[in-house]
Structure formats: C-alpha cells, structure tokens
C-alpha cells in the first residue's frame, strides 16, 4: 500500500514518464483494437504481434543498434508482410483464414526466435535487452524510447479521431460505404496500417506474445457496456489505460516481474467482470432477464387458466383449488404455487383456505390475456389463412408480448370481432 501511494505521488520523475508512456501505448492499441474487433478480425492482431519479432531482429542485425526508429521500422515491415500473406493465403488457396493466421503467426515467430537466438549466441554485446520485446518492459520506457513510442501513439490516436466515421462505416457496413463512394480499400489499408503501428508500439509495454490481448480484450469488455461505437472506443481506451497504469506500477514495485502478463491480467479481469456483471448484456443480467420473462409468461398463463375456469361456469370470482387449476391446464405444482403467490402480492388473486380467486384487477388482466390470444388466432386464420386447429401454439407465444397499441390495431383490422375461429367469445 505504501508503495502504491509512493508510486501515485510520482515523486520520481522517471516513474511519471514510464506511467505516461505505458498509458499511451495501451490506450492507443485498445482504440485501434476496437475497430479490428468490430470487423471480427480480432485474431489478425495476434498474427501481426508475433510477426514483428523477426522484423525487430533483422533491423538489429542490419543496423547493429537498438535505436527505436530502426526497430520500429523493421517491426512495421514484417508486420505488414504478415498481414498481406494472411490475406493472400486465405484468398488464393483453399486454406481457411484461421489456418492462415495460425500458420503465419507461428512461422514468423519461429523465424524471429531463430534470429534472436542467433543474435544472442553471436556474442554481440549490444543485443542485451532485445528479448524484453517478448514480454514487454514498461520500465524501459525512458528518454528517446519514450519520445518515439509516445509520438507514434499520439499519431495513432489522431488518425483514429480524424477517420472515425470512415472506420466505423467499414466496420459495420462495407457495402454501404462502397455505395457512398468511400474508398473502402484505402480505409481498409489505413486500418491495417494502424493495427501494425499499434502492435509495434504496444509490444514495448506488453511484449510480442501477449500483444493480442491489448487489441482484443479492452474492446471485448467495452462492447458489453454500450451499443455506441464512440462510447465503446472511449471505454476501451479507458480500460486499456487502467491496465497500462497497473503495468507501470508493477514494473516500479516489482522490477523482476515481467510487465506484460500483469497488464494482460488486469485487463482480462476487467473484461471478465464485464462479461458477467455488465447491465443488460452481462451473463448475470441476461440470466435475470430470462427468469423474469419466464415468470411473466407463467403468471399470465395462470391468470388465463383462472379466466377459462370462470368462463366455463359463468362465475369469475369463485374459489379455485390447485387441483381445479391443474385440471384445466397442466402446471407443475411448485411453480404454480409460486406463481399464485406472486400474483397475490400483485393483488391479482386472493387466497382463502388454500383456494384462490380472482380480484377485480386479476379478472381484468386474465380477460385481456384471453382476448389477445383469441384476437391473434382470428388474425392468423383470417389473414394468413392458417387452419383453426393450427393457430393456438402461435397465439400462446405472442399473447405475452402484444402491446395495447397492437391490440387496438388488431381489433380494428378484424373489424371488432365477437368470436374467435373456435367460436369462443372474444371478451372486450
């Protein structure tokens, strides 16, 4: 805890620069990742990430220095080539895209490892630290490195801001974009370039191996909170930045730890919390919605059964036992009892000596359900010419979701009918 406070006070100027650097790198890759995610090409980022390794090694071999500009250049070149090859292989041969991605990423990475070990064994003293590209080292972000990577990150963010509308359009509807006369191919190329750049900068923070997470995970998490592309992008950037902050802290507090895995761990935990607990889309909330819907349907069916019983002996407000209800329409006993209890709480039925009867409000509600059911049956048989013995099932599902407006419209179109196809009376 003490260390955390010490870290957050930024008394050490190098801590500040490392933190700013890590946040810029992770946020910018999250922003670009949002669009590859929306294009359903998330794993392409993984291929690029692995493919920059031979580029870095080659740049080092040719230039003999660890100057970040050379390394970025080399990484950029092989990253680009890898994407091109994935496209070529999946378009020009019978191999599928997933095979092409897995093939290119592993072969390029293998080549990178061969070169890296070759450099290490060659005894060149300048090579130490080249392997920090494997797992990332945010703490190494000082001086010239910070400047170069920082500038690239800012360029990325600017490019996305400028072309936000175009990128959004080709992610969601490339055909429409083409119809509008947008240069779809060019924008695709721009996104590819941005992806490669994002990978090239991001590897400084998380390393080659886990770079895919920085592109995919923040975007996947953000998707669970919003339907709006702009909000999603901003949220993904925030999540990325949070994990970058955590990474900077780890490399400050525990220098022996590899930074990349911790950054990925933080962002993955955030993502999984989103998968489970995000409102509306999360697994938990979806489960509650489903249960809610099941309850509504069951309750309304029970009301209908009570109404049918009342209809049969012309007395809506007689006491009914569980057995009578089940005899009219089968319900498992326990769910039925629960449903009646829920209805009692909503003051739609009353309980007396273990029997149940409608309240006035309950009777009206049951009447409406029966009315909807019969209106829909009539609609199906009249307008879609479905045989009367085939319409029940369909009405059984739609009656729970028809709105009062639709009810009126149905009644109007059917000319305010009195009888359904089975000659039962349609209550008003």
């Amino acid at each position: 805890m003490e260390r955390l406070i010490e870290f957050l006070s930024f008394r050490d100027p190098s801590v500040l620069s490392v933190t700013i650097g890590a946040i810029l790198l992770t946020a910018s890759s999250a922003v670009v990742g949002t669009f590859t995610f929306l294009k359903k090409k998330a794993l392409v980022g993984d291929a690029v990430a692995h493919s920059v390794l031979p580029g870095i090694c080659l740049a080092f071999l040719l230039s003999g220095t660890k100057n970040p500009i050379f390394l970025i250049g080399g990484a950029f070149a092989t990253g680009w080539i890898s994407l091109l090859l994935v496209d070529k292989i999946s378009m020009r041969s019978k191999l599928k895209e997933d095979t092409a991605i897995a093939l290119i990423l592993s072969v390029f990475f293998g080549l990178g490892i061969l070169l890296l070990t070759y450099i290490q064994h060659s005894g060149n003293a300048a090579q130490t630290g080249l392997d920090s590209f494997l797992f990332g080292k945010a703490a190494a972000l000082v001086g010239q490195d910070l400047l170069v990577f920082g500038v690239v990150a800012v360029v990325l963010l600017l490019a996305v801001t400028l072309f936000f509308k175009e990128l959004k359009l080709i992610a969601f509807d490339p055909a429409f974009a083409r119809a509008l006369g947008l240069p779809v191919y060019g924008i695709d190329l721009l996104l590819t370039t941005l992806t490669v750049l994002a990978v090239v900068t991001g590897i400084q923070a998380v390393g080659v191996v886990l770079m895919a997470a920085m592109l995919i995970t923040p975007a996947a998490a953000a998707r669970f909170w919003t339907d709006d592309a702009l909000h999603m992008t901003l949220l993904a950037a925030t999540l990325g930045a949070l994990s970058g902050l955590a990474g900077a802290f780890v490399s400050y507090a525990a220098p022996a730890m590899p930074t990349g895995p911790w950054i990925v761990m933080v962002v993955s935990v955030l993502a999984m919390l989103s998968f489970f607990f995000a409102p509306r889309r999360g697994i938990v909330s979806r489960w509650f919605q489903q249960r809610q819907l099941q309850h509504t349907i069951l309750d309304e069916n029970v009301l209908k059964a009570l109404y049918h019983l009342g209809e049969a002996d012309d007395d809506m407000f007689r006491d009914r036992s569980l057995e009578q209800i089940i005899a009219r329409r089968f319900f498992p006993r326990r769910p039925l009892r629960r449903a009646l209890q829920r209805l009692q709480r909503r003051k739609l039925v009353q309980r007396r000596n273990g029997t149940w009867r409608f309240t006035k409000a309950g009777q009206q509600k049951g009447q409406r359900m029966v009315r909807l059911h019969r209106l829909w049956e009539l609609y199906l048989s009249r307008y879609l010419e479905i045989a009367p013995d085939h319409v029940h099932e369909d009405a059984e599902t739609i009656e729970h979701i028809l709105t009062p407006e639709l009810e009126q419209e149905l009644a109007r179109q059917l000319d305010f009918p009195e009888r359904d196809p089975h000659q039962s009376k349609i209550p008003s």
């Binding site: 191999l95 095979t99 080549l111 886990l210 995919i216 990925v264 761990m265």
Partner: protein
C-alpha cells in the same frame, strides 16, 4: 548420436502434432489449437507446484484439464455472453497464458521453468536428460520415450476413433443424426491436443508447437485432395522439417525449434507457389497454357 536423438525426438513430436493438426485445420479450429497451446501453461505450473516433481504424468494431466477448460471457456463466452468467437478465443488464451507466466515469475524459486523455455523450449538439451535404469544401463533420452509414448497414444486415438473423427469433421449434421456425439469427440480431440502440446513443451515451447500443428498439414493440404494421402504427406513433411531444421540450426548456431519452424514455413511457401494442382504459379501457368491452346484451336477453326 546426439544429433540422431534430437532429430528423432523432433520427428516424433512433429508426427503427433501433424496427425492432430490435420483434423484441426479441416475443422477450422487452427486458432483453437493455438489457444490451447498457450493456455495449458498455468496447468503445467500448477501441476508442478502441487506434485513437486517434473514428472511428465502430472504435467500432462494438468495440461489436459486446462486444455479442456480452455475449450469450455471459449464456448461459454461465445454461447452465454454472446461474445464473437474470435474475441472469445483471444481473450481466453491471453488471460491463461499471462496467468501462467505470472505463476512462473512468482514461484521462480520452486518452478524449474523459465519464460524463454516456455516460448521456444530447448530441444538441444534432450540428449542430456538420459533415462538410466537401476542397474546402470543407459536407455537413451527421457524426452524421446515421452514423445514416443504420446505418438503411440495419438495414433491409437485416431485409429480407434477414425470414423467418428472423420464424420464429425466433414459432416457434423450427419454424424449427429446417426448418434455420434459431436461435443464428446470435440473435447476428446482437444484433450489430445493439450496432451501433445505439453509433451512438446520442453522441446519446442508453446508457440512453435502451433507451427508443428498447422504448417505440415497446411502444406500437405495443398498437395493432395484425399484424407489418407493428407496424413501420409504430413508425416513425410514432419520428418523432413525435423532433419532440415536441425542442420539449419547447427549451421546458424540458433534455436533448433526456431529453425524447424522456419524450414516448415519455407516448405509451405514452396507448396503455396508450386504445388502440382493448387499452387499459385502452377495454376497461373496452367491457365496460360489453356488460353494458348484455346487460341490455337480457335485460329485453326477459323482457317
């Protein structure tokens, strides 16, 4: 002798991987194989910590469980959270791999694994770890026996389940209609992939094993159109890349695993361009010849 042991071990691993890889690429699950090969890492580390030994039996058990867990998690995110498949794969395996690396760093003292070994293994050490019986008889490298055992298990698995695997791969609907459980065979295959990944782990590492899973079958796929021929070509390629990779690495003084993969990549490139029926250039040449023949025929007809 060392060279022979290394090449033989690499060949056995490449054969195991290639055998399973044929099914993976036909099922469009190459990236799931990639995910599993990363995700078994925490399983290995935990098995290490629990059992306290580097015994392969424990590691394979831990990894097979993790591999099946990974498959389950990807399905779970996809079905329950409705996350698109590519993102479900990406999120799952990066998370588990990060977990594995963190565990290795935290328990650095207790776990006899390091980050580099995880990434690209060290097959050059294979001849150093010999299996010596109590009477002092040297039986050869331990890794060789493990690789042989895994290959045997994989061959028996594919032999016994050949019909089921083939049907669930090519026509899942038909397979389901005659009562073959698609998900059972899927999980079995993924279990086999995880086990093979672990057995290959010390030798070639987590990422290069993907190349062994995908590159030889993908190359063979361009050379043939029949499944038995695909298996045979994959096997031949496995032998070729192991031997070729070893000598390339010896020449460059680099990682043997890296060199094996590089050779596999080069062979794929050749097949992609020059495969007799499906090669990019062969197809182009064939088209040109046909165009010429057609033009000549048309000219002859006009006369």
């Amino acid at each position: 002798m060392d060279a022979f042991y290394i090449i033989l071990t690499a060949t056995l691993i490449a054969l195991s991987c290639g055998l399973l890889g044929c099914f993976l690429i036909l099922r469009r699950m190459a990236m799931v194989g990639d995910a599993i090969s990363h995700a078994v890492l925490p399983g290995i580390v935990i098995a290490f910590l629990v059992s306290g030994t580097r015994d392969s039996f424990w590691m394979m058990g831990g990894a097979a469980l993790l591999g099946i867990f990974t498959t389950f998690l990807i399905e779970f995110f996809h079905k329950r959270a409705r996350l698109q498949t590519d993102a479900a794969i990406g999120v799952t395996f990066t998370w588990l791999f990060a977990l594995g690396i963190i565990l290795i760093s935290v328990f650095a003292g207790q776990v006899d694994l390091d980050q580099e070994c995880v990434l690209y293994g060290e097959i050059a050490y294979v001849p150093l770890d010999l299996w010596i019986t109590e009477s002092g008889k040297v039986l050869g490298p331990r890794a060789l026996y493990i690789a042989g055992l895994v290959l045997l298990i994989n061959i028996s698995f594919v032999y016994v389940g050949y019909k089921e695997l083939l049907l669930t791969t090519f026509d899942p609907t038909f397979a389901a209609s005659i009562g073959i459980s698609i998900s059972l065979w899927n999980y079995l295959l993924m279990g086999a992939v995880s086990m093979t990944t672990v057995a290959s782990f010390e030798s070639v590492g987590a990422i290069l094993v993907v190349a062994l899973l995908v590159a030889p079958p993908a190359t063979a796929y361009l050379l043939t159109d029949r499944f038995p021929a695909l298996l045979a070509a994959t096997a031949a390629l496995a032998v070729a890349i192991s031997a070729g990779g070893y000598y390339l690495a010896a020449w460059l003084d680099g990682s043997i695993a890296g060199a094996i993969v590089t050779v596999a990549g080069v062979l794929f490139g050749l097949a992609f361009l020059f495969a007799p029926r499906h090669g990019l250039l062969t197809r182009r040449w064939r088209q040109r010849r046909q165009r010429q023949a057609l033009a000549e025929a048309a000219a002859g007809y006009r006369e």
